[in-house]
Amino acid sequence: MRDRIVTIGAVLMIAAALFAEAQDSPWGDEPWPPVDGGGFEDGADSPWPGDAARDTGSLWPGDAAGSTPSYADFGSLGAFSLYGYLATTAQAFFGDAGDDAVSGDDVAAGVQTRLRLKGDWEPDENVLVHLEIESKHQRGVSNGYALMQSTGLDRGSLAAVQAASPQDDFRNVLYVDQAWAQLRFDRVDYQVGRVPIAWGTGYAFNPTARTNPIGGLTEIGEEETRGTAAVTAAIALPMQASIEGYVAFEDRLHTAVTVADEVEYWNVPWGARLRALVGSFDIAVGAVHEVASARAGSGFERYLHATGETVGSIGDLGMYAEARLTTPQFDGEPDDSEEWDPGRALVSTVGLEYLFPGDIDAKVEYYRQGTGATDTDAYDLAPVLSGHADGMARDYGFILLQRTFMDYLDVSAAALVNLNDGSGAALPGAEYAVSDAISVSATVIVPWGSSDSEFGGSSDTAGVSVRLVRPAAIVQAKVSF
């Protein structure tokens, strides 16, 4: 039923877009952007419609020479725009999957087709409505259910679940990822709905972003920020400072099942921060109340963090830092029984950026996860699989080198390294822009490390041996419209 409502909504959006396009543009007869799109001969007559108006001294067709438009004449008031992309991604995992019972030990393949529709509507100068709908078709290792079954992590339960629910589609997903309205006033901005809350200055890791599930290895620095049901507000202060905050209505893992405890006010996630400019640095300090579904049983885990972040540059060197410090865990009241260890409570990331000669963009980042282990014997995979931890270790390094060739070809080489056990994964990749709307990309994941390391070996959880990172190849074709 929910899928049917979303489908009807998408059809109505498309119809509205077509209707809006048929109306007069607030800019008059000149289409924006110009219809011809591109490609013209130097020295030839200009391809822009309405150029006859140039003779009158005005660039606006139909306007009297010397007329002065106001700022309100720019923008897209009243217009509805629909855009997005269609991406097909094929991926293959190679080699030992970890457990003897796992299928696809040589090659495990999967494919995903993703259609993301985005819509903007600005009915008023102070109101913006935005919608993002995503439709995914997933097979093989690209399908989480199939992956769980192939690794044995489901303990055989998924087959029974699917058999008991033949009406549910475990391959296709259609959902509204973002749907929000932005209200802009003189000094206050609000967003209401399913809002992307993208806090943090880190590139690969964001310790202060506590409203979304943690992404996988291939999502570092990429993809959209998932929407979170929330209300956000930002109040502009003097000296270009601001106070920002949010109150969310779903836990960080975006749990789909309902829980009786979610009606309790202490299970409401929120965040608040003060942002300011200090010299050439942007600085923010704040607090975040994180709520995540419990790792075991039902209910929620709650954390209160003090947060801080900064970004700026000294000369040609860009730098950023982000951290959260977790207060003792409490269930509505401060808990003094547990001895607080600031070392374990601190999660931080610091990074540097620099553009080397030859236009090579370099980023280096160090991530410290206080609750992580420094000894492989203490590794715990369960929090990683459940989305409660970024990794099993405490210290990680990330490096990225990127260069663009001929404006069409982006080549990158990234590596994530577990600094405690020396294992890591290299992610070389390339993206080629076939045209303005079409791009193809390829990424390879090459892990290394000893047999007991995080990236090179297998880890046991729930009686199953799982290899967290396998060599993989991922190719994608993307059409933007």
């Binding site: 799109g37 013209f40 130097d42 993208a198």
Partner: protein
């Protein structure tokens, strides 16, 4: 060997030569200073002719991957400027980058990526990179604002019947360029050509202004071509619409609000 009388004669000659030399050097310095002042005066008049408290423009950028081809990638941008050091631009098309926003506040560049909702800072070393990372031969530094007389030290190279040729040396040690060479139309007081020289590659780029239009009393170059001699390609920038001294929304120039 000189006799006593010759020595007495030689001292005045030497002294006179020194005096003449000093006077000549002073004249040369004065002439150079006068030329520098002339060049500065010319650029001051060029800058004043373009002065506006605010400016709003719709721009298209056409990127050709070689000097000969006529096939281009096309970008469409809305640009707003306030004063000499504050600017904001938003990419309107193509769809793959629509919504990308770039704010420059006195050299502090922030880029908003609509797909992730994140704002990233651009370090000054990345100012030589293409605007928004979308390619093209116009860098952040090329498109950034700023008061000409503050950003460069000018000297006159030559003066012809119709043009001045003026050399500008950046005052910012972080600038990507060693010096620029301006060709100024005497009558219209506009730059019709700018050469960009770097220490490593010499004459690296040339920008020419190909079409002019009078907008609100200002003579505006509405078509600019940047020829990248090192990479053997070019980018054409066209101004579709422009307005000056129009009211600006304060949020465009607020680092915490420009992306909302």
């Amino acid at each position: 060997m000189t006799d006593k009388n010759n020595q007495r004669v030689q001292k005045p000659i030497v002294a006179r030569a020194i005096k003449d030399g000093i006077a000549l050097a002073a004249l040369v310095l004065l002439a150079v200073a006068a030329k520098a002042q002339d060049a500065t005066e010319v650029m001051r008049r060029v800058s004043e002719a373009q002065d506006a408290d605010t400016a709003a423009m719709r721009i298209s950028m056409h990127i050709f991957d070689s000097l000969e081809t006529n096939e281009s990638r096309d970008l469409f941008i809305e640009s707003y400027g306030r004063g000499e050091t504050e600017s904001y631009m938003e990419f309107v098309a193509p769809r793959s980058i629509a919504g990308l926003r770039i704010q420059d506040l006195d050299g502090e560049i922030r880029v908003f990526f609509p797909s992730t909702g994140r704002v990233r800072r651009i370090a000054s070393g990345q100012k030589s990179g293409s605007v928004g990372g979308v390619g093209g031969d116009f860098s952040y530094e090329d498109m950034g604002g700023g008061e000409l007389l503050d950003e460069y030290t000018f000297s006159m190279v030559s003066e012809g019947a119709d043009t001045y040729v003026i050399r500008g040396v950046p005052t910012d040690p972080d600038s990507s360029y060693d010096h620029l060479v301006y060709t100024i139309d005497k009558q219209r007081l506009v730059a019709t050509r700018i050469e960009y020289h770097t220490e490593d590659h010499g004459h690296e780029k040339t920008m020419t202004a190909d079409t002019f239009q009078t907008i609100q009393g200002r003579l505006l170059a509405t078509e600019l071509t940047m020829m990248n001699l090192r990479k053997q390609r070019r980018t054409v920038l066209r101004i579709h619409q422009a307005a000056f001294d129009v009211p600006m929304d304060e949020r465009l120039f607020n680092p915490n609000r420009f992306y909302r």
